[in-house]
Structure formats: C-alpha cells, structure tokens
C-alpha cells in the first residue's frame, strides 16, 4: 500500500473512533484528579504516622531506663502510653461513589450491589438514585470501580433529565473482562445480551435494586463482542433495548 494511502486510512480510522468518544463532564475529571491526589497524600501521612509510631515504640523502653529516680516526695505520675494518631478511615466504595457523583446529583441514595474479582481486578458496582443538580429531576445511575487501575470510576445515569430519552436501558462494564451490567425498566424479567451474528446470546435475570429505585439492574459475565441489550418482560416481550 502506498504511504499516502496508508496515512489516509489510519487517519480515517482514528477519526472514526474519535467521533464516537464523548468526553465526560470536566468536573468529573477534576474530581478524579483531586481524589487521586488525596489518596496519595493520605498514603504519605499514614506512612509518616506509622514510622513515628514505630520510633516511639522503640524509644520507649530506652527512655524508661535512662530516666533517673525521682527525688521529689510526690509519687511519680504514671507514664501515659503515647496515643498513636488515629489514621483517617478509608472512604468506603459508597462514599467514593457519592463523592464522584456529587457534581451531578444531590440527595443521593447509594446501594452497593455487587463486588467480585476477575484475574487481578477487584470490581464493584453500585446503584445511585438522586436528583439532578441542574435538571432537578430524579435520576438513577450505575457506578463502577476497578481497583487495579487506581480506582477509576465510570457511571451511567438514566432519568427524566436524560439527553437520551429513548435509551431506556444501559449497557456498560466489560473493562478487563469484568462483568457487563446495566439498568433496565421496572417491568424487566430478563435481559438478552447479543453479540455479532453467529454468536450465542446471553440471557440473565433482572434484579431488584432496592426501595425507592424505579429501575432494575442486570449483571452478566463478560463476553467479547456484546454490544446490544434487550429487556424482556415476564411474557418474553421486548420492553426496552440498548442502544
């Protein structure tokens, strides 16, 4: 292939993928950066505290030996053991999800749904219900974390304020072969996940999220090429689809 033709083809390929990329809100990116920096800082503080506590423990017996006998008539006051500084408790997954979505939602309810491990990756999934900060309308989201990538977050929301009113369900996940998941309408009994022609579809049950949530969710093992999802009611009728 001629070099110019190769240049054109590769550039068009890159452009194709670029057109499909939708940047998440810049606030979410900034928050992710701040969280990362906070984690780094807390790690350093914990290290310093651990070193300091270790030094105190090592020095304490020496200090007792070197202390001369008191000459005062008052009884010596009991030596108070040093009180180690309390490390700041680590944020739970639910807290981190709430923190992440803080720029998008208010009055949030977070329900941690699933947690698992695939190879070296620990993944977690949570559902969030809240009110859109701008739209003031209820929204429901699924958020995920992946521990080995430094806890990056991804989330997808549906609600009255969504800019994709026809998309009544979502399909996400699958990074590093972690499970696929998504939101589905309340009446969904099963979800059918389809890949390219010729491959066997996966069918998984839809599960209840919790009180107050208007949607259900589904979770399926990772399978290459899955790109569409269909929500079926109890009679097997299609009630929603993605995309």
């Amino acid at each position: 292939m001629h070099e110019n033709e190769l240049r054109r083809q590769v550039a068009e390929l890159v452009a194709d993928h670029s057109e499909q990329a939708v940047p998440p809100p810049v606030a979410a990116i900034r928050r992710r950066g701040r969280l990362r920096r906070a984690r780094q800082a807390s790690g350093v503080i914990l290290l310093i505290v651990a070193v300091a506590a270790g030094l105190v423990v090592v020095q304490q017996p020496l200090g007792r030996q070197l202390t001369p006998a008191p000459v005062v008539t008052q009884p010596p006051r009991p030596i108070q053991p040093p009180r180690p500084a309390q490390p700041r408790p680590a944020l739970s997954f639910a807290d981190e999800v709430q923190d992440m979505l803080g720029t998008t939602l208010v009055d949030m309810t977070v329900v941690v749904l699933e947690r698992g491990k695939v190879s070296d990756d620990v993944w977690q999934l949570a559902a969030v219900r809240g009110t859109g900060r701008n739209s003031h309308k209820p929204k429901e989201c699924l958020a995920r974390s992946l521990a080995t990538l430094g806890r990056p977050f991804g989330f997808e929301c549906l609600g009255e304020g969504t800019n994709r009113p026809l998309a009544r369900m979502t399909l996400g996940g699958g990074i590093h072969k972690t499970p696929l998941f998504g939101l589905a309408p309340q009446g969904t009994a099963r979800v059918l996940l389809r890949g390219p022609k010729g491959t066997t579809p996966i069918e998984v049950p839809a599960k209840t999220i919790g009180p107050g949530f208007q949607r259900r969710y589904y979770l399926a093992p990772w399978k290459e090429g899955i790109r569409t999802a269909v929500a079926l009611d109890g009679q097997g009728h299609e009630i929603a689809h993605y995309p």
Binding site: M1, L13, D16, S18, P23, V26, I29, D121, G150, I175
Partner: protein, 167 residues
C-alpha cells in the same frame, strides 16, 4: 482566560482525538477512555505546570500511553484486546479497506502500532514521534519501515483468515 476555563477548553478540544488514537493503539475503546480520562485527571491537578509546556496534549498522550501500555502488560490480555479491535460491531459500516487496515493493525505488536498511529494517525513527524516515545529517531524510522512491511504482508493475505466480522 481563567486557568479553569483554560483547562476545560484544552480538555474539550483534545479528549476525542486522544481517545481515537489510543483506541487504535490498544484495540479497546474502554481501555483507551480510561487511560485518557486518568491522564486528564492527572493533568488537571498540575495544570499550572502542564499548561506551560509547548504541547500539553503531548504530555497527556504520553501519560495515557504509559497507562494503557502498563495496563495491557499487567492484565495479560493484549490478545483479547487485539481481537476486539477486529470486531468493530458498534461502528457504522466501514469500507473493506478500513476493516482490513483495522484488522492488520490488530495483528501488529504494540510498539509497531504506536509508531504507525502517531506518525500517520496523529500526523506527528518522525522526530516528534521519537520525542513522544522517548526513542532515538533511527529506532522510530526502522519501526515504521518494519511496521509497514508487516502490515503489507497481512493485507495481502486472504480476508477470511483475518478474523474480523463481516456483517
């Protein structure tokens, strides 16, 4: 322009382009988006420094490349990612040439794909590619030649053996 606005404008202008480049390199849009988002997150916390670089986008791309590369190595799933590259099931219909290029790129080693995408896809000069990858210029040139030769071999093979879906 305020510093925050400055970053947002840079982010909006560069995000999609970098995701496109990383997707072709890694074979996975999810991995590419994760790496690019993480790189922008890091840029946001040190924007006062990064904004003064000659090419802030090159810095973000370098970080994203490192993240994507280490992610690929760590998880040992490069083959799966390459296979995904050959299955553009969500994309609009593409020409057979484009599919062939995509499939051929998917069979190249990562270091060949990097130089091809940066040179032809991101339109960087050989010197800029060398600077981006921290490699000698001669290495970049030889990789480009070998990558094109390897791609040429793949493109001449029968399409049925390339392993991408044709709808």
């Amino acid at each position: 322009m305020r510093r925050d606005d400055d970053f947002e404008a840079f982010y909006q202008a560069s995000y999609a382009r970098l995701v496109g480049q990383l997707t072709v390199m890694t074979g996975s849009r999810e991995d590419a988006e994760d790496a690019v988002q993480e790189a922008f997150a890091r840029a946001s916390t040190r924007w006062a420094t990064v904004r003064d670089y000659d090419m802030p986008e090159a810095w973000v791309r370098r970080v994203a490349l490192n993240l994507a590369t280490s992610g690929l190595r760590r998880s040992r799933r490069q083959r799966a990612a390459l296979a995904r590259l050959r299955l553009p099931t969500t994309q609009a219909a593409q020409s057979t040439d484009r599919l062939a290029i995509q499939a051929g790129l998917g069979r190249l080693p990562l270091h060949y794909r990097q130089v091809l995408v940066l040179h032809y896809g991101a339109d960087l000069s050989v010197e800029q590619v060398a600077q981006q990858l921290r490699l000698p210029t001669g290495t970049v040139k030889s990789r480009l030649v070998r990558a094109r030769a390897a791609l040429g071999v793949y493109l001449e093979e029968p399409q049925e053996e390339r392993g991408y879906a044709r709808e």
